[in-house]
Symmetry: C2
Subunit: 427 residues, 2 copies
């Protein structure tokens, strides 16, 4: 039976949450030329990340949480329950950012979790189950090339040695950088499966804004494919080498970029999204045909069969490139590949009930971005609360913005969801 009938409807302190979000955003702040705004660059295992971690741990300890750190540097703050032997309800996200970030991506999930604990304390509520607030390491994957890294190791999908061996653009190893910033913890590598996991996150898309609702209940995460494609050609003089004798690695890279957009526009692959974010060519001189080019191809699709078709057709296109330029060598390396992840219907319903108690209409939607929740979903019933973004939900950009009211609404939905889950199946 459900003991939440006698529980109050919780409202978090939105001002307290907002001031935490703004304070964390000052760490790694930079003046963004493209937007004229102040952005955030707090990539994983940098000095800025370490400073952000210390700030968050301080807030956790001020909220009375018992803080532990695992060997990946992921941070866990635990609030005891009346039945402290029961599996905890977990909420969390990450605080690492891309190089051109805003203040909300990831941070809202961690800080709203801490705010929920403060709210329970203010109300003098002790839950049956313990509650754990988590901040996972390197969710963005921009520095070490694999996203959801901390939660993937905690859930057992990637092993610790593999993670430690990953290197950044400068060749620095993840393990060495984690040691450098002093965040190699002693908690178990594999996370004890929680009773359930809930992640509050900005939508990073335009759907909720278009439907004019502040809260989304996330049904799952779409399939994501990342690969690095390296083209090996031959350097040659731009003015004298006949076109038919060239093996132009930069041209081949450009043909792939154009092809990816053609595939997206074709509509043949459902709601495929394709992005080439990383593009380099060497030696990089105006008068020399590039002998080497490197790009990354990011494909997303809500349906696995459409993703598989897109990957198959792109592979065929890559294999055919040397037909047009004999001598060209195409090398691909898989960086990440996740299948579509459906979330727990029970947890989705609990989120919807909690939103209803607060009078918030909700929309159901699938996540276009990858989240730590999709990793934890492998070991525990999981779902997510999405918060409406402004400016078409632009994200990974300093223009990323959600209003204080919407952030508070998301945190209050998270609070009531955690409270309900923390009282479930406790007798």
């Amino acid at each position: 039976m459900d003991s939440t009938l006698d529980s109050p409807v919780l409202h978090v302190n939105g001002d307290r949450l907002w001031s935490d979000l703004m304070e964390l955003a000052t760490i790694g702040a930079y003046d963004d030329e493209a937007t004229g705004l102040v952005g955030v660059d707090r990539q994983s295992l940098t000095d800025e990340d370490a400073e952000g971690r210390r700030l968050v741990i301080g807030w956790m300890e001020d909220a009375g949480l018992e803080v532990t750190i695992d060997p990946m540097g992921s941070i866990f703050g635990r609030r005891a329950g009346r039945r402290d032997d029961l599996e905890p309800v977990m909420a969390g996200s990450h605080i690492d950012t891309v190089a051109t970030a805003g203040a909300f991506d990831g941070c809202l999930g961690v800080l709203s979790g801490i705010e929920v604990v403060r709210t329970l304390d203010d109300q003098g509520i002790v839950t049956e189950r313990p509650i754990v607030i988590a901040a996972f390491t390197e969710e963005e994957g921009v520095r070490f090339g694999t996203d959801m890294l901390g939660s993937a190791v905690a859930a057992g999908r990637i092993d610790l040695e593999t993670a430690y061996g990953l290197t950044d653009a400068e060749g620095k190893r993840f393990g060495d950088e984690l040691r450098r910033i002093g965040f190699v913890g002693s908690a178990p590598v594999l996370l004890d499966p929680p009773y359930s996991y809930v992640e509050c996150h900005i939508e990073q898309g335009p759907v909720l804004q278009q439907k004019d609702v502040a809260i989304g209940v996330v049904t799952g995460v779409q399939s994501i494919s990342w690969q690095r494609v390296t083209l090996h050609g031959r350097a040659a003089h731009a003015g004298t080498t006949p076109t038919e004798l060239r093996v132009d690695a930069g041209l081949a890279a450009a043909q792939i970029i154009v092809k990816v957009r053609e595939m997206v526009d074709s509509g043949r692959y459902g709601r495929l999204r394709g992005t080439v974010g990383h593009i380099t060519a060497s030696p990089g001189l105006p008068s020399v045909v590039p002998d080497r080019a490197e790009i990354t191809v990011d494909l997303r699709n809500p349906e696995d069969h459409h993703m598989e078709a897109a990957e198959r057709d792109l592979d065929e296109f890559l294999s055919a490139l040397p037909d047009a330029q004999p001598g060209l060598r195409v090398e691909t390396r898989r960086m990440a590949r996740t299948r579509q992840v459906p979330f727990s219907v029970d947890v989705q319903e609990t989120i919807a009930k909690s939103a209803a108690d607060l009078g918030h209409p909700v929309d159901q939607l699938m996540s276009g971005a990858g989240h730590d929740a999709q990793e934890i979903a492998a070991i525990a019933p999981t779902a997510m609360v999405f918060v409406r973004g402004q400016h078409d939900g632009i994200s990974h950009n300093p223009r990323e913005y959600s209003t204080p009211e919407d952030c508070a609404a998301g945190a209050s939905v998270l609070a009531n969801t955690i409270l309900r889950l923390a009282q479930e199946n406790t007798r």
Copy 2:
């Protein structure tokens, strides 16, 4: 009348020339990953360039030349004539290289000039006119973005202040770097027009090899257009931002690269060549749509009207890019633009006569690459001697190679050409 009838036919010392070429190539030598060969990276105004300059000046002084340096760092070695008041015959080229160079581009022209002086000394020949051997600064243009820079200033096309203000990729100014390596000279900025200028250079193309002749008489240099194109888009999340809301700077760059090749293949622009050698995108992360991309476009054409048509059509294409991606901003900066340069028919005939005296069949051809000769052609009768290259004349690559025999043949043609010119119109 012509006083060369009583002159001997000169043969340079090929071993001496070859050993100089190989010794200069050790300065800036590096192991080239792409080819497995040893390449040369001696870009302008680097420490390696300075070391190469000191070696060449030593050779000039050993050959009894009076060495002067101009405010651009260009080096001139003068051999007195019997009629020392007459305008000198000048021969030269450059010793700076691209980042992935071989041993011959530029260096052959300077070192064969020094070898010609040694040969005249060995024969006890004093010419009527003085002879000057020149090594011009930053011909490649790969470091400061403008090629033929030293000769362009010497010929008055570019002024000294403009040249000094040019910056490299790290923002270092040309003037500061020239001062740093200690090569700011006191010779006049504007070169006193020589009687004639002859440049010996490797072909950097396949024509002479295909026609099985060692020597080419160059009729002129084709038109060259360099521009930098910067695309300004908007950074956005790769997984969530709908395709129609994206302003993808990297995609626009790729479309330009593909378009340039389409223009070349179309045949609509004569013997157009097009190269995009420099390609970058930022922030350069797999999951972020690039907000900025930068490329260089290098166009070459033997005929000015075809070049103008190609540039006009490319400009139209660039202007239309924002139609497909509203919000995209396209910024172009002209880096270099030279019209087709015809060489002196008289000097070409003197080169052909000298080759005939040596028993070398010749082919007439136009240069696909830019050379210091095209700048000096503005102030003096000028032509070039091309030397056959191997491997389809590949250049700007460690595989660049001309045989010792072909290098000696080119230097001997240069020797007899200089001797003829140095006796002309002296009464």
